[in-house]
Symmetry: D2
Subunit: 246 residues, 4 copies
Amino acid sequence: MSKIRVTVWNEFRHEKEEPAIAEIYPKGIHGAIADFLSECDDLEIRTATLDDPDHGIPNEVLDNTDVLVWWGHMHHDKVSDDRVAYIQKRVYAGGMGFVACHSAHHSKPFRALVGATGNLSWGDDCREIVWNLKPTHPIAAGVPDHFDLELEELYAEPFYIPTPDDLIFGAWYETGHIFRAGCTFTSGAGKIFYFQPGHEACRSFYNPHVQRIIKNGVHWAAPNEFGYAISDDAPFVHPVYKRDDK
Amino acid sequence: MSKIRVTVWNEFRHEKEEPAIAEIYPKGIHGAIADFLSECDDLEIRTATLDDPDHGIPNEVLDNTDVLVWWGHMHHDKVSDDRVAYIQKRVYAGGMGFVACHSAHHSKPFRALVGATGNLSWGDDCREIVWNLKPTHPIAAGVPDHFDLELEELYAEPFYIPTPDDLIFGAWYETGHIFRAGCTFTSGAGKIFYFQPGHEACRSFYNPHVQRIIKNGVHWAAPNEFGYAISDDAPFVHPVYKRDDK
Amino acid sequence: MSKIRVTVWNEFRHEKEEPAIAEIYPKGIHGAIADFLSECDDLEIRTATLDDPDHGIPNEVLDNTDVLVWWGHMHHDKVSDDRVAYIQKRVYAGGMGFVACHSAHHSKPFRALVGATGNLSWGDDCREIVWNLKPTHPIAAGVPDHFDLELEELYAEPFYIPTPDDLIFGAWYETGHIFRAGCTFTSGAGKIFYFQPGHEACRSFYNPHVQRIIKNGVHWAAPNEFGYAISDDAPFVHPVYKRDDK
Amino acid sequence: MSKIRVTVWNEFRHEKEEPAIAEIYPKGIHGAIADFLSECDDLEIRTATLDDPDHGIPNEVLDNTDVLVWWGHMHHDKVSDDRVAYIQKRVYAGGMGFVACHSAHHSKPFRALVGATGNLSWGDDCREIVWNLKPTHPIAAGVPDHFDLELEELYAEPFYIPTPDDLIFGAWYETGHIFRAGCTFTSGAGKIFYFQPGHEACRSFYNPHVQRIIKNGVHWAAPNEFGYAISDDAPFVHPVYKRDDK
């Protein structure tokens, strides 16, 4: 079977501008994600960042991407509408998967794909415990009942997303808040996974459970081997059954 | 209890341009819908059309609308983006309900609210049978297991919408097609109902079951008496629980 | 409109055997629930308990009940299978609503109605915060974003229920746990609501938000004015459409 | 990776008692299903039938089964409650998958696993068209928008099942009926797939799309390589977070 072609996209500004962040993620967040994803033999990984030409995701890259992993935070508005429209088309009509990490809840592509603001409440970093609410889901494979994150950014309900297809993980925070931390959505031929841990100032992308979940998410979101063609249109159709058949 | 304020919006071009349509709906489709909705004592109804100033839905009208019923077909693109944005805000943040009739699957507000193209397959008018798939849902109250529509426009799967919150009605067509004909969605504080029957050249809005369903849909989509405020933003929050709480 | 006929069922043993519990709920938990429900003019309320003949719910009582509210804890096994079967039939075929409070997650009727063990993890009483995850749902009407319960029994994930129709409330506990605290399910013509707060040793049934939620739950679970008949059988049917129609 | 151990269970009475059925399925329906499943290299297949000792599914067989495929029709009541209870436990606590074919909607294990009667309307065999409603689901991989079954038994709405996790296929019938023909459910650690085509007097198990769907269903329902342990109990738990944690 051919490999799943993954593009890991990162805003990559924090790491260049803030030494404390660069120390946590010396290769950038995209580098950290690419590193652990590369442990999977069936993935072929490339990275792209905001400041690359065409944000590193010209049509030919997206056309050859099966799953796009997205991390953005402070500069969502710098992402060109043209790239967002093409991502949306690739997901909807081409079945490209989309994995939205952490602050990508507010990214243009995520908002466009799920049709929601993605608004939430947020607060200072604190201890988080992630609970596994749907152990039968492929994204939860190998994930225990719960696991600890010593420090993560508080992302709290109310979280304004459409009713998810599946709610897989729930987050508990020391501050009294909870959050729907792992959710899936469908857009046409494409699958979308949102996962909350991954603040630039924390170390969640080094957590083995977080890594497992993102690996699972990438595999789950990938289009199947058969593909599925969707015309970006509303076609006129003729009867598939006629009274005088047979 | 105060009345539910309903605005019935109609493109209102077919009826002015095509005598055959005007004959079916002499007061316009909005007039026909308003007529049967006005049988409900708890509804206060006004109408608005594409060619009215601000399409008949300036901010002050939308601010005083609890449920917006929408019928559009050939001129979706004539609806100003500014009105769509305000509708979206009123639904999301203000809890205004939105009932999308028939070809409104392709209308700008519906597409914006559910984050999908709303694409479907369509074909010549034929006999349709509507099946009640969720009799416990308030929108199905008083609706039998199934009912007939002698002639409706064929709207067929694949229908590209997000996974609905509830699938209430399914359509069978003489041509061999089926369709998810009655679906609900959530957007922030607001509720959305899509219902398929209602082609301008057919007479479905005179069908008592269709009328019952749209009446039910309007009541279901209305915000509750308590309201619910959503800030169109992502607020910073402080702990609601502290270690040193008593 | 005729009133909604509510039967509040309680095991009613703790209150008779443990003075500390009797002090909290001097009229029994059923009495406390009946008290606040009776603030709603459209409800007609009766109570029933385990030690009543036929547990207070002979066929004629269930036949005249629109919504059955259930509280049980230590003596689930004392409830006769015959009563459970009749409850199940009344919900499934007759559309009687069922509101399961707290430890009713393990009651025979709840387990039969949702087809699951209802297993969960539990622990010592602690502080709980209830979060509103679906403000558009009728059961959440008038409920704020979150509210506090100073002391409730810890009920924690994993909670083994089918995927709920709607997840309305989520619970946060001081101990690091979370719980799907308010969930709905469908069984044939009937609606089911499970709500977690309500331990016999705590005072949650005096909390105005808990009261509001249970009031809402009763109204939501009630069958609609039209009723809906389901034969408890698999009927043979003839074509509703024939090639040579028309 | 080790193989998925599949047990195909069949009532196997029609084929022994009715020559016309034996002609269609000379090796029995289980033989036909086992034949096409054996085209998958990663499946290890055995069969079992009603008249085998312990119905061919003693504990040691079920303990070594990853996915149980079930076909039964006229003799559901002959299946011992003891076997049903053990199947239910294996699914719930052990994560065994369950694929219910056609008339298994009324089988004891299916009814126990989903907590519903599985009632539906049925009628004479007629032409059926199966529509693909969720092309992104693994069970729909390689399945076109729709496909024809020249003759199948009419299974029609209303179909009394809980709200499915996913509705993947919808059926259209020549008679004016529709049906939720492919649905998934969750029970504890286990996954359940119901699929409608497969009447003993028709030839659907020879249809390549039906075969593809059942192959997909078996792979989807299989537990993942990590397994997931569920205690069939409600354990007492201690805090996972304490105020005085660092």
